[in-house]
């Protein structure tokens, strides 16, 4: 599904964010990416989204070489990936419904389908009764559930979440990851970047640890990780 081969990312002249990363994520897999601040986690996700260009190496997503995607086709590639952000990135002046519907508008969905699909997706994240609220009227956990609904509304093959629980409290965090694993159960590949070890320990998924731009650990078993590296 996602193949990362010898990828380097150098910002500017000499900030090495990623250093010859090799990584393969299979279709339908759930992967945590952990590591200290500055270890290159966000950079890795940005490369997969093609928000940043790789400095060397190659990335294949669904068999497609990202370097070969033309600028004009980039939006269409991004539609195959759902993104969840730490800071939610909801549009403040739109209601919950509108925020989710917006993602469908962007891809040119018919109004009729929007009316049918958005309430369904909101019910998946238990927000059907908050559809008319504005983001400022929601708790952090609720905002992130809207973000999640927006990420899945177009049925992406992959969900990428950068610290989705970074701005919400612990109990809410489990709920978000629960929802993500629920989505994963429907064969969607999920990649979650997190600082939070307790979350990683709670779920039986693959964990990849980054350290100074290199992969330091890749295991199903958290306890084998050199956990001292990301006590931050």
């Amino acid at each position: 599904m996602i193949e990362i081969n010898k990828v380097c990312k150098i910002y500017g002249k000499d900030i090495v964010a990623l250093d010859k990363i090799n990584l393969c994520i299979k279709e339908g897999e759930f992967v945590f990416i952990v590591g200290a601040s500055g270890s290159g986690k966000s950079t890795l996700l940005k490369l997969v989204l093609k928000e940043e260009e790789i400095s060397s190496g190659s990335i294949f997503v669904s068999g497609r070489n990202l370097s070969g995607i033309k600028k004009r086709d980039l939006p269409y590639y991004r539609r195959t990936i759902g993104v969840v952000f730490q800071d939610f990135r909801l549009i403040e002046k739109m209601t919950v419904f509108e925020n989710v519907a917006f993602a469908m508008r962007v891809v040119g969905a018919a109004e009729r389908n929007i009316k049918r699909r958005v309430p369904y997706v909101l019910s998946l994240v238990s927000l059907e009764d908050k559809a008319k609220r504005f983001p400022c009227e929601l708790s952090g956990g609720e905002k992130q559930r809207v973000g999640l609904a927006r990420a899945i509304v177009n049925n992406p093959k992959v969900i990428i979440a950068d610290e989705p629980t970074g701005n919400i409290d612990v109990s809410m965090s489990y709920e978000i990851v629960d929802l993500l694993s629920e989505i994963n159960r429907r064969r969607t590949t999920v990649i979650v970047v997190t600082h939070d070890l307790t979350i990683v320990e709670r779920f039986p998924f693959r964990v990849i640890e980054l350290s100074h731009g290199k992969i330091r650990g890749d295991s199903k078993d958290v306890t084998t990780l050199a956990s001292e590296s990301f006590v931050s």
């Binding site: 940005k46 989204l49 093609k50 928000e51 940043e52 260009e53 939006p75 269409y76 590639y77 991004r78 539609r79 993104v83 800071d87 990135r89 549009i91 917006f102 993602a103 508008r105 962007v106 891809v107 040119g108 969905a109 018919a110 109004e111 929007i114 927006r150 177009n154």
Partner: protein, 297 residues
């Protein structure tokens, strides 16, 4: 359809949010269009005057009202230097006026009858004998006056050239100023909405989709300006028309003659200015990706 409605709404909304800059843009485009309109109207009226002179070109011999055209023509043809002599009836003359003015003017003269005299258009074989031939023509019985307006024609066409040059420069510089102001207005909108734009990009919006509300904003600015300027122009021109027409009837073209064409040209140029202005301001922004486009935390 949904996204179209969305774009329209967003465009209108940001017009309001940008209050002052939108106002400035409308003002500047309006000025640009008004100046264009004024110079167009002036040059059209000069052209009209020139046309009238052309109708009476070469030498026109106006007859006294009681003269018999046939007799006069015979006498004109006796002069050796006359190469051609065509009768130009007062009915024809009035018809030509009507064509240029674009409306019937017979009612105007209902009680007085046609005020124009019958005439002959005469040309000479040898221009160097011009003065003596004119003298001979003047002696003919029934000839009222002889007009030769080549001097006036030359002056008018000089003025026409000058207005064309001046208005070209004025219009050009105002168009440039309009573009700068409109694109700055839109640039502010783009800046205010940069986070939104980035969200749109990350969920896979095409540049076209992102651009559309801004183009709508530019279009609305252009259209508002076009309507303001056409109505202002009509109002002012009608007033001037009234005054001049009272002094010298039929010397100025009524606004209705231009209104349709002008409305179309104004609307189109307003739209183009608005659209180009908005494309200028958002184009560069859309090219940026990732951290280059917006710094998040």
């Amino acid at each position: 359809m949904g996204s179209f409605v969305y774009s329209l709404k967003e465009g209108v909304k940001s017009l309001r949010v940008n209050g002052f800059m939108s106002f400035a843009s409308v003002l500047v485009i309006t000025c640009c269009l008004l100046l264009t309109g004024v110079s167009f109207l002036i040059s059209e009226n000069i052209k009209f005057a020139l046309k009238i002179i052309e109708i009476q070109n070469s030498i026109t011999i106006y007859l006294k009202f009681n003269a018999v055209p046939k007799d006069v023509q015979d006498k004109i043809n006796l002069i050796s230097n006359i190469s051609s002599c065509n009768f130009y009836s007062k009915e024809e003359a009035i018809k030509e006026y009507e064509e240029i003015l674009g409306k019937k003017i017979t009612t105007f003269f209902e009680d007085e009858g046609n005020p124009l005299p019958d005439a002959f258009h005469v040309s000479m074989a040898n221009i160097s004998d011009y003065d003596s031939t004119i003298l001979e023509l003047k002696k003919i019985d029934g000839v009222d006056m002889i007009s030769d307006r080549s001097e006036t024609a030359k002056k008018l066409s000089d003025i026409k050239k000058l207005t064309a040059i001046i208005s070209l420069w004025v219009i050009f510089s105002f168009a440039a100023i309009s573009l700068i102001i409109v694109s700055n207005t839109i640039r502010i909108t783009v800046h205010n909405r940069r986070f939104e734009i980035n969200i749109m990009k990350s969920i896979g919006a095409t540049n076209g989709f992102i651009r559309f509300p801004f183009i709508v904003e530019g279009m609305i600015i252009g259209l508002i300006s076009a309507s303001i300027s056409i109505f202002t122009l009509k109002f002012v021109y009608d007033k001037i028309f009234e005054i001049i027409n009272n002094i010298i009837p039929l010397s100025i073209i009524p606004f209705e003659r231009f209104s349709n064409d002008m409305a179309i040209v104004f609307a189109v140029s307003g739209l183009i200015l608005g659209i180009i202005g908005s494309i200028f301001s958002i184009g560069g922004y859309l090219k940026k990706e990732g951290a280059g486009a917006v710094i998040w935390q």
